[in-house]
């Protein structure tokens, strides 16, 4: 019998949702398991790093890595998998663009540590204990991975062959990607394995999308009862559709919630820049002070436009200095 392709799954700074998607393949996951040989999947099965270390370079057909890179351990295992794998797929937004964890880049590491370990109202820490890379406990030195200043996307630290969008990727695009791997029919290297168009292009509300200035005020979704048929932008509700990649089959829109942008930017665009251009284009005002008022209706533009991809912003995490 021909050898089955070896596949690895790994998680870095992530929530576990991407792993959940693999399970969400339902009975299809059994087809996957039958078609491939899973050599590493710490979330679901018992493996040790040494299992990978002893393998020959390039012997894993494909490693699916989810999660952003925030610690030295994550970087170490990701690089190890890179060496052992023919292909590395960044699985989901955190690996592709930093994801939700990358929002931490809007604050300093020190500020985050202070808040999380010292200042938060739910913290009782009179001895002011914070995690340290090295500490001594009962006479023994214990270590933790280094916690970097910045949340990186996977291709800030190493070569990545393909990207799967989504927070998490939908079962459909995961199944398509797996099928392409098994059949050896992957597109050009470095592709994002989804459509290049914008979500608006396939959205059922596209007919009512405004193409001129009509918005006098931005409203947040909890402040209104949204009409279930009309384009969210036409209702003054920020919808990330214009800057977001198509391919999710718009579950949020169907649920009468605006898109928050989880499929990342459309090909060639910066998600925040594109959104700034799109929203600027529909504000109805010519007075500077009034425009200020309207845009202040988006209290957190960076967090809204880069909710899933601050590390991929033009002003994002690409390493300017060595970790």
């Amino acid at each position: 019998m021909a050898q089955k392709p070896k596949v690895a799954f790994y998680w870095c700074a992530s929530c576990g949702g991407c792993e959940e998607t693999v399970i969400d393949l339902d009975e299809k996951v059994l087809d996957v398991v039958a078609a491939v040989d899973i050599v590493f999947w710490p979330c679901a099965m018992d493996f040790k790093y040494s299992d990978i270390e002893t393998m020959a370079d390039g012997s894993i057909a494909v490693s699916f890595i989810n999660g952003a890179i925030r610690t030295s351990e994550q970087e170490h295992v990701a690089r190890l998998l890179r060496n052992k794998s023919a292909l590395v797929v960044a699985f989901g937004d955190c690996a592709w663009m930093g994801g939700i964890p990358a929002l931490a880049n809007l604050k300093s590491k020190k500020g985050i540590f202070n808040r999380s370990y010292l200042e938060s109202p739910t913290i009782v820490n009179p001895e002011k204990i914070v995690p340290l890379e090295k500490s001594v406990y009962k006479g023994t030195e214990v270590t933790l991975p280094k916690f970097y200043d910045t949340v990186y996307k996977l291709d800030d630290i190493m070569e990545v062959d393909y990207y799967l969008p989504g927070c998490p990727p939908t079962a459909k695009i995961v199944a398509n990607a797996l099928a392409a791997v098994v059949a050896g029919q992957l597109p050009e290297r470095k592709s994002v394995l989804a459509s290049d168009k914008s979500l608006c292009s396939s959205c059922s509300r596209n007919e009512t999308k405004p193409d001129s200035v009509i918005i006098k005020e931005f409203k947040r979704i909890h402040q209104v009862i949204a009409d279930p048929e009309t384009c969210f932008l036409a209702q003054g509700i920020v919808c990330m559709g214009p800057s977001t990649r198509d391919g999710c089959d718009y579950p949020c829109i169907k649920g009468n919630m605006p898109c928050t942008g989880c499929f990342g930017p459309v090909a060639g665009a910066d998600q925040g820049a594109r959104m700034t251009a799109a929203l600027g284009g529909v504000i109805e005002s010519e007075e500077e002070a009034d425009i200020e008022r309207v845009v202040s209706g988006i209290p957190d533009p960076a967090g809204t436009f880069y909710r899933y991809g601050l590390s991929a912003s033009l002003l994002g995490s690409k390493r300017k200095d060595k970790i």
Binding site: L106, D149, A269, R274, G281, A302, L314, L315, G316
Partner: protein
């Protein structure tokens, strides 16, 4: 920081601001060579992505100069720029780029002295702020 020689990119519209800058040249009104002009047809053509890319590629400051309100050659491209850049300004400061590093303003074809003054002021402001370090994370928050 006397030896700091900032790089400032100014996107200038063909019909007003470039003509204003050109006139400054014709009149031999000196302005700092730190300000590098990029001529575009209209300030409304300046995508926020151009501004972000300029910062990413090493600009310490970016200006967008267009026709005065009401004077746009294409009727309201400058207003479009105003709406977009008011939003971009909010986002830039969240990303650790001080708001003084970006400036949208108006210069007409005749306002050579105004162009000179804006270029000088921007250069002074950026010299005071120092070089822009983009590290992908915000070390300290800016207003």
């Amino acid at each position: 920081m006397d030896d700091f020689n900032p790089a400032i990119i100014a996107f200038v519209c063909n019909w007003c601001s470039y003509a204003g800058a050109d006139k400054a040249g014709g009149q031999k009104l000196p302005y700092p060579s730190n300000v590098k002009l990029i001529r575009v047809m209209c300030s409304g053509r300046v995508d926020p992505q151009f501004v972000m890319k300029a910062f990413r590629e090493g600009a310490d400051g970016v200006m967008v100069l267009g026709c005065h309100p009401g004077d746009c050659h294409y009727r309201n491209g400058n207003m479009k720029a105003l709406r977009r850049f008011k939003l971009l300004e909010r986002m830039l400061s969240q990303l650790g780029i001080e708001k003084e590093r970006f400036k949208l303003d108006w210069v007409s074809a005749g306002e050579s002295a105004r162009f000179q003054e804006l270029a000088k002021k921007m250069t002074d402001t950026i010299k005071k702020l120092g070089p822009l370090h983009l590290r992908g994370m915000v070390e300290s928050e800016v207003a």
